[in-house]
């Protein structure tokens, strides 16, 4: 039987010789000749060119040799500064409301109804508290950060970032459009991994996938913001606190970008050898964003969706946390056993057992790290009034409660800095891991994408902790 497909390919090869190699050129030229002709007939340009071309002036500035990079850093800092300043008050208001007012009311209601202690524990001290923490820690910063980021995106700034960074990517043997998937990763790594589809070379696409995790995603911003506000912002005069905390967050983000370059460079010289392939990037015209529409859609579409995901992850996590904190084996709760099991390794990394346990509980979503850490600290450090396992000892005064909890948990500046680093450098969340598998269909590369940042995170935090201890800083 003759195979029509093979037959077809053979005929094509034979005829190709007849047509010659210039076919594509001929078509492309003909198309553009026509296009130019048609456009010329249809479009009338203004007679005099405007003396001042605003788009060009902006482009000259944001890609200039002197100002290009400072402006990127400055914009990022301003975005976080606004986020941190703006989120502070609403966050503590929400915490006061949900944790200080609603939670005790619910507890009272439950005991009035005669609900058994374990049920009200699992539901109110576990599920409800975890959800409430997520809402108060995440909602305000997200509701400010997303709209700001979307405005920058709609204006057309992101491709300029890619343009400015391209040389570094090409040095690292990576694709210029990796800058775009990286910026998408600042929203969500799973989205960033999907966004690598714009890269047409498989090698470079894999590099982009494997390194996307170094773009700090929205689940991790709240951790960074909170920790830097409490431990770094508070170390400087109040007037500078917001700015310094923002600078600390930006430093972590910039470190993530530097790691992206370093790891891409490493990959393209070891596991994924090859040359950077060609790339072209269109820089779109600046378009004034529609402010209100952007605010509306980014709050509705992004913030609430992300928040909802976080809450659905937090609720079961809360149940788990409460359960392991209240099931006792040999006089100590399961959580305490686990924490003391992990404490040694945690100490080596300049972290502690609670943080490591939190990172295990929070594999489904980075968003719930902070609530998990807080709840575990409260539940295992036997803080005042924790008998029935709640976090109800909060005298909430603009985040001081969180600080008190963490100090009670034995946190130092080293713990805070290493938590920020570990937050940047650890395994991707389970959603991202699944997406990586879906995009690569390769267990091997999925495993690499998971293990590589985790091991790197161990190495970095261990090195820093050891150095700090040897130098007597901690």
């Amino acid at each position: 039987m003759s195979d029509p497909a093979a037959d077809l390919l053979q005929t094509a090869r034979a005829l190709r010789a007849e047509v010659g190699a210039g076919l594509h050129d001929q078509l492309a030229e003909a198309l553009y000749t026509d296009a130019a002709h048609l456009a010329d007939r249809a479009v009338t340009r203004p007679d005099e060119r405007p003396r001042f071309d605003l788009d060009r002036a902006i482009d000259r500035l944001v890609t200039s040799r002197t100002w290009g990079f400072p402006i990127m850093i400055l914009l990022l800092t301003v975005v976080f500064w606004i986020t941190i300043q703006g989120a502070n008050v609403p966050s503590s208001l929400l915490a006061t409301l949900l944790l200080d007012k609603v939670h005790p009311a619910l507890k009272d209601g439950a005991s009035a109804l005669g609900v058994p202690w374990w049920l009200s524990g699992v539901l109110l001290d576990g599920a409800y508290l975890a959800g409430a923490w997520v809402v108060s820690v995440m909602l305000p910063p997200m509701a400010i950060f997303f709209p700001l980021f979307t405005l920058l995106e709609d204006f057309g700034y992101l491709p300029r970032v890619a343009f400015n960074l391209d040389r570094l990517f090409s040095r690292a043997g990576a694709h210029g459009k990796q800058a775009l998937s990286m910026t998408m990763g600042f929203g969500c790594n799973a989205a960033g991994v999907v966004a690598t589809r714009v890269i047409d070379s498989p090698r470079e696409r894999l590099i982009a996938i494997l390194t996307n995790n170094f773009a700090v995603c929205n689940g991790r911003w709240p951790t960074l913001i909170m920790v830097s506000t409490i431990f770094i912002g508070s170390a400087v005069p109040a007037a500078l606190a917001g700015l310094v905390s923002a600078a600390a967050v930006v430093s972590v983000a910039v470190l993530g970008v530097l790691l992206t370059f370093a790891v891409s460079w490493f990959l393209s010289r070891t596991m994924l050898k090859g040359q950077a392939s060609v790339f072209s990037l269109e820089l779109p015209p600046y378009r004034p964003p529609r402010i209100w529409q952007t605010l509306y859609t980014s709050v509705i579409d992004r913030t609430l969706i992300v928040l909802w995901r976080a809450v659905t992850m937090a609720v079961p996590a809360g149940v788990v946390i409460w359960t392991i904190s209240n099931v006792h084996v040999g006089g100590e709760s399961v959580a305490e056993h686990l924490v003391s099991l992990l404490d040694g390794f945690g100490w080596l990394l300049g972290l502690n057992g609670v943080i490591l346990l939190a990172y295990i509980v929070a594999i489904p979503a980075n968003e719930i790290i902070i609530p998990t850490i807080l709840m575990l600290t409260v539940l295992t450090a036997r803080l005042s009034g924790v008998g029935q396992g709640a976090g109800v000892m909060f005298e909430l005064e603009s985040g001081n409660a969180i600080r008190d909890i963490l100090h009670a948990g034995g946190w130092t500046t080293l713990t805070a800095i290493n938590l920020m680093l570990f937050s940047l450098i650890h395994n991707p969340c389970s959603t991202t891991i699944l997406t990586i598998y879906h995009e690569t269909r390769s267990l091997k590369w999925t495993a690499v994408a998971t293990a590589l940042p985790l091991l790197l995170g161990f190495a970095v935090t261990f090195t820093l902790a050891t150095a700090a201890r040897l130098l007597g800083w901690a």
């Binding site: 343009f163 060609v278 269109e282 820089l283 015209p285």
Partner: protein, 94 residues
């Protein structure tokens, strides 16, 4: 080599797009790349006869953004050297 050659001046043969300084205009003579890369460039409208203006240099000098048929397109220098150019015909300058 002078930094800002007079755009109307005769250039030596085999100038490539990489030689074009920001602000200068040129006309594409030929593409010396092939395969997918050549296709992609042509899809973007870079075909013989196309008029190109170098517009922006990135802070690290590479890539450079070129104005091609109304759009601003960034190309790495490794690609730009594959695109042969000449000074535009006088009537194109008007």
């Amino acid at each position: 080599m002078s930094l800002n050659p007079d755009p109307g001046h005769e250039q030596p043969a085999q100038r490539t797009l990489a030689d074009l300084q920001p602000g200068e205009t040129a006309e594409v003579v030929a593409l010396h790349s092939d395969g997918a890369e050549r296709r992609r460039l042509m899809d973007l409208g870079i075909v013989p006869g196309t008029r190109i203006i170098a517009e922006l240099r990135s802070p690290l000098r590479d890539p450079v953004a070129y104005r091609v048929r109304g759009a601003l397109i960034a190309l790495r220098q490794s690609q730009a050297v594959q695109i042969e150019i000449r000074s535009p015909a006088p009537e194109m300058l008007s």
